[in-house]
Each structure stands twice: as structure tokens, then as C-alpha cells.
């Protein structure tokens, strides 16, 4: 009775019994249950099954044999190497190129808005479609790229068949596609920099280059951190573009951990493919977490 009276007058009653304190947390239970069953449980199960030879119906425990195979076999080890190259290259290219594109797109051009949409457009197309399209553009004799180079008198290489070039061709296509997202993040960051700094520096007679190095770069750090983390983790997990362009070929040259995991799964080596997934998890944890902590610290010290 008293409580209703209080509510009618707009008072907030603070009840200190334990059940009442737990009350808000009860609303979390359905979500936590879903999270537990769909995420936590499979993760723990995969840690377990990565230590077995598994046929989906029964398993034999083999300890670290699957991991040893991944590290010792050429065809599997190359995936780890390629994944790191792929992630570092796509990440650094996106971070650097997108910054220049974003600065260019905030310099007050008349067609600025149109150009911004154009830069973002590749990101909207399905990755598979992009992969297949570039794959046919890069055909050594019938593709458009080499036809164009032929007109200039240069014999174009086999972009996806040359074992030294293949992975980098795919990196280039990935950067082409992913530049849009990075640019958009930078644009948001650039627009958040207060104009006062630029006004103050122009009074002091600073050049455009000094503006960029001493105002833009330090203040764009939060956006840059986002781009670095997102593109690095995305690059490590990338699968669809590589699969659409080369399926990991020729031979094993462009295999990354995710395509290897898929191939082992396709062959019925379920334990081995889960071990590959665990390795990918460990790689990301090993590189992405310290990177994230490092970047956040530098951001905070600003």
C-alpha cells in the first residue's frame, strides 16, 4: 500500500533485499543462455575436439598430433605464413591509402559527396562477385588487364598463376574492395577534429604539410586504431575472396588458414580442421589483443 502511494507521487523506492537487487540481472538470463549455447559451448567443444581424430559420430583422443601436423606439414604450414602476410599487407595498405583518400575527400572539392559514394561502392558488392570478376579480368591471355598492357607493349604476367605474384594480386583486390570502409571511418574522424586548430595554425603560418603532420595525424589516432584493428582481424579471417579467385591454388601457393580449414573439413578430417580453427583463434589472440592494447595506450596518452 505504502509503495503504491510513493509511486503515485513519483518517489523512487529503493528496496535493499537481495532478490530485488538480482532482479535486473534476471533479464539478462535469456540472452546469456543463447550466448552460452551458441558461442561459449561450441568454443569449448572445439578446443576439445581439436585434440582428437573425429568422424562426427565417434572420436579417438590423439593429443597434440593435429597441431604437430599443422606445424610440420608444408601444405598446412604455408597457410599460417600466408595468413600473416595477407593480414599485414591488406591492413597497412588500407590504413595508409584510406587516410590519403579521406584527406583528399575533405579538401572541399565540388564533387566531394559523389566521390565519397563512389569510394564506398566496391564494399557494397558481394565479395564472391568481386573475386570472380577480377579473376576473369586477370586471365593471362584473355583478360582485360593483360590486353590493356599488351596495347602498351608490355607483356602482362599471369596474375593469379605466377606463384610469386598470386597472393599479392589477391591482396590488391582486397584493398580495392575494403578501402571504402576504412575511408568512411577516417572521414568521420577527420570531421570530428575541431576547425579551431587549423585556424590557429594558419595564423601561425603553418604549411599544409605541417598541418597534416602535427594536427591531423595525432588527432586522427582513434579512427586509425579502429581501421588497424578491423582490417587486421578481417585480413586474418579472410576466406571468400581467396576462394573465389584461386581456391588456394596454384598448388598450395595462396592457401590461408581459413581455406585450409575448409579443405580439411571437406575431406572429412574434422579433428584436423578444428585444430586449424583453434590455431587461427590463437593467432588472432596473439597478435590482435596486444596490438589493441598498444594502440589504446597510445591513444590515451594523447
Amino acid at each position: 500500500m505504502m509503495r503504491e502511494a510513493f509511486f503515485e507521487r513519483g518517489f523512487v523506492v529503493r528496496d535493499t533485499t537481495v532478490s530485488k537487487q538480482m532482479h535486473p540481472y534476471c533479464y539478462l538470463i535469456p540472452v546469456l543462455l543463447i550466448y552460452l549455447v551458441l558461442f561459449i559451448l561450441p568454443t569449448l567443444m572445439s578446443f576439445f575436439f581439436s585434440l582428437t581424430v573425429w568422424t562426427l559420430s565417434d572420436y579417438t583422443f590423439v593429443g597434440l598430433e593435429n597441431f604437430k601436423m599443422f606445424i610440420s606439414e608444408d601444405s598446412l604450414r604455408i597457410g599460417i605464413k600466408n595468413t600473416m602476410i595477407y593480414a599485414v599487407m591488406t591492413s597497412s595498405l588500407k590504413v595508409i591509402l584510406a587516410l590519403f583518400v579521406a584527406v583528399f575527400l575533405t579538401s572541399g572539392l565540388r564533387t566531394q559527396n559523389f566521390l565519397r559514394s563512389m569510394v564506398f561502392f566496391p564494399n557494397l558488392v558481394s565479395t564472391l562477385a568481386v573475386g570472380l570478376t577480377f579473376s576473369s579480368l586477370m586471365h593471362p591471355t584473355r583478360g582485360v588487364f593483360n590486353a590493356f598492357l599488351g596495347k602498351l607493349g608490355v607483356e602482362g604476367p599471369d596474375w593469379l598463376g605466377n606463384v610469386h605474384l598470386a597472393l599479392f594480386s589477391i591482396v590488391a583486390v582486397d584493398v580495392w574492395k575494403g578501402l571504402g570502409v576504412a575511408t568512411v571511418i577516417y572521414l568521420a574522424g577527420l570531421q570530428a577534429i575541431p576547425k579551431d586548430y587549423y585556424e590557429a595554425s594558419s595564423i601561425d603560418g603553418a604549411s599544409k604539410r605541417q598541418n597534416f603532420l602535427h594536427i591531423t595525424l595525432p588527432l586522427i589516432r582513434p579512427s586509425m586504431n579502429s581501421v588497424i584493428i578491423l582490417s587486421f582481424i578481417g585480413g586474418m579471417r579472410s576466406f571468400d575472396l581467396i576462394w573465389a579467385m584461386t581456391k588456394g591454388g596454384p598448388g598450395f601457393t595462396t592457401d590461408v588458414v581459413s581455406s585450409i580449414v575448409y579443405k580439411q573439413y571437406a575431406n572429412g578430417y574434422y579433428g584436423l580442421s578444428i585444430a586449424g580453427n583453434v590455431i587461427m583463434f590463437l593467432l588472432i589472440a596473439l597478435f590482435a589483443f596486444p596490438l589493441y592494447r598498444f594502440l589504446i595506450k597510445r591513444e590515451a596518452s594523447l
Binding site: 606439414e73 573439413y265 572429412g268 578430417y269
Partner: protein, 433 residues
Amino acid sequence: MKRFGLVCVLICMVSVLAFSAGTKETSESVANAKAEPVVITMLIDNGQAVDGFNAVAKAAEEKLNIKIELEVRPGGNEGENIVKTRLATGDMADICLYNSGSLFQALNPSEFFVDLSGESFIDKLDETYKNTVSEGNKVFGVPYSSTQAGAWLYNKAIYAKLGLKVPATWAELIANAKKIQSAGITPIIGSYKDAWTSQLIFLGDHYNVLQLYPNFPEEYTAGKAKYASNKAGLRSWEKLHESNAYLNKDYLATTYDMALEMLVEGQGAMYPMLTQALSYIYQIYPEEINNIGVFGQPGETSGGSGLTVWMPASMYINKNSKHIEEIKKFFEFYISDEAIALYSAKIKPDGPYAIKGVDLPEGTYAGVLEMVPYFNAGRTAPALEFQSPVKGSSAEQITVQCGANLKTALECADSYDKDVRKQAIQLGLPGWN
């Protein structure tokens, strides 16, 4: 406003009731007409020619009142993955079309498919073929099409123009290739964009391996014979390695379809491939089909080369199907003379049929007629995958490495042995540790 809303809802309710009443009437009238044909689903891979099957299925529709609906899946490793997943999840179609031999036996057939060994029509099957669709005494499948060989397709016009003869030894094949190359034509077509096509020189050499080591399959399965250390086995990899000098410039970007186009149009002279390609060529370039010949991959000595034969894909009945008896009747019809005649009218055979007492019909491809002497002289052998359940799963990638000369033949043979070992361990085969 409220009234208006109420009226709208009432109108919707009435129209829904009116429509549902209508549907009920139509389904009743259909039930009074002829009995619906039994619908049977079949999962098939996209590399199979279907015209012959469809002709037989149409006749079966009238004779047995069944209707077969095809579901298409990819081939190669991806296709195997799909079939294994769907069997494991209980989501398989009524009929599953799949390879015969070791790939089939790796599916654990007695768990998923119906045993046909008690049926009378099983006696009509060729013995060698029957072994490739059996597990122990149980027989599970009937052949979808004719047998075929992993051999060399060649453009007869180019051979005639340059005055070349079908090579009897590997050295003669290389000599032919050199002559073709100096005439400005690609001697050997490579289509490595479709990685599975790079395996044929290696797999097609199995007849030659067996001539020197008849026990190779057994020892290989037991983990004792290895490609890197076995002279004949290593030779298969070396032949693949040697072919690189005579491939088309863009072999890494060429697909299977493009390669067949090149062969027919005379841009390439020879193409190591399964003779099922003849059916594909016939569907797309029917006038050119008799210009394509077939010869078996030659060995080192001119004792008469042989053919490595692939058993046809087979159809197996899903244990969970609700129409098992109807499908058995369909299978019995499928291997009858009437059905084979219907089939060959649409799709000429790529090799002799795996059914006893069947002659090759009129109008069989010139290439297939060239295969008959091999069968008549007994110079054939089944491919390794039908004699051993062990086949490395990364085979197509390693053969690409070998054919593209990314590694030496010995390194590739060794890689393949390691890959086979990985499969043996993962599948728990005995004697491999």
C-alpha cells in the same frame, strides 16, 4: 475510425475463408483423377551428362509411374563434402549418385545405403564393376553410365596433317609433342584452373605401374609401397613433370570447358582426360566428335600400351527413403536392354558398359571404337582408386605443383606419400604408424 477498421478485418477474414474453401475443392478433384506419380529425388553432380538418364527416366515415368527430380551439386572435393555432410545430417535425397570404388567405400555404405545383393538384377552386373560398389558381400549400386578410361584425347586432323602415329611409348609421345610444337600448335592442353584435371597423367599411368608391380595396390594400401621409392610409381610423377614443357602458355588459367574447346578447334593437339569428355564434346560440338581419338597412356616399352579404366558413377538408394521398392524397380529397368538402348540413343557410351551381354550400338564415337581393341586384348586395368581405398585428399593440388614444375617430381611424389599417410591416419587405417 474504429468501425472502419472492424469492417476491413471482417472483409479480410471472409476472403481468406472463401479462398481456402476454393483450394479444398480443387485438391479433391485432383484426387479423383489418375494417381499421382511417386516423386523420387536424386542428388547428382554437375559434371554428369543427363540426356541419357532423362530419356530412361521419362520411359520409367510411363512404365512405373515414378517421377525423378534431379538436384545438382558440385563435383570434386567440394561435392564429396556436400554428400558426406548430407548423409551425416540425414538430409540425403532418395537416390544418391556418387563415385564407385574407394571414395564410395569411404562413405561407410552399410550405414547409409540399401543392400541390393538379394535382388535378381544384380547378377547382370560385370564382376569387376560389382567389386567397386560392394562392401563385403553387400552390393549397393547400379552403374549410371558406361565405363570410361583415363587416357589421351587427340585431335585426329592435326595428327593426320603432321603425319603422326599414335605413340606406342612415352618417348614417342614426347617426340610427337615436339613436332606439334614446331608446327605452332599447343602439343598438350593443360587446364589447371580446374585443379582436378591436372591429375590425369598421374592417374592414367596406373596400368603401366601394374605391369611392373602387379601387387602395388595391396602394398600401397598397407603402407609399404610408396610413390617416391617405387620406380614405376615415381615414373608416373616424372611423366607429369615432363609434360610442362609442352603445355599451353595460359594453362594455369584455363578451365576444363576451355580446354575441350581448344581441342575441338585445333588450338591444342592432345589432352589427357577421362573419356567422359567425349560425351561433353558430343553435346556441344556434335559434328566434331569423330575427329577426336583416344589412346592409352604409353609405358616405356612398346609391348602394346594399355588403358586405365574408370568405373562409372553409381546410383545408391538412401536407407531413409520412403520409396525403396519403387527405386529398386527403377534400377532393374535402368540396366535392362530397353533402357540401355534408350540411353545410348541420347548419349553414346564413353567405353563399354559394365553390364554383361551388351554390345556397343551403331554410331558409337570414333574414340570409343579405338578403345575396343584394348578391351578385346585384355590390356585394361581399373584405376588405383578402385583397387585401394587410400587416396590422398590433396592429390589435385600436388599434381598441379608437379605439372607446373613448382617442385621436382621426386618432391611431389614424396608430398603425395605424406598426404596419403595423413589420410590413412585421419581415417584410422591399420598399419600406417
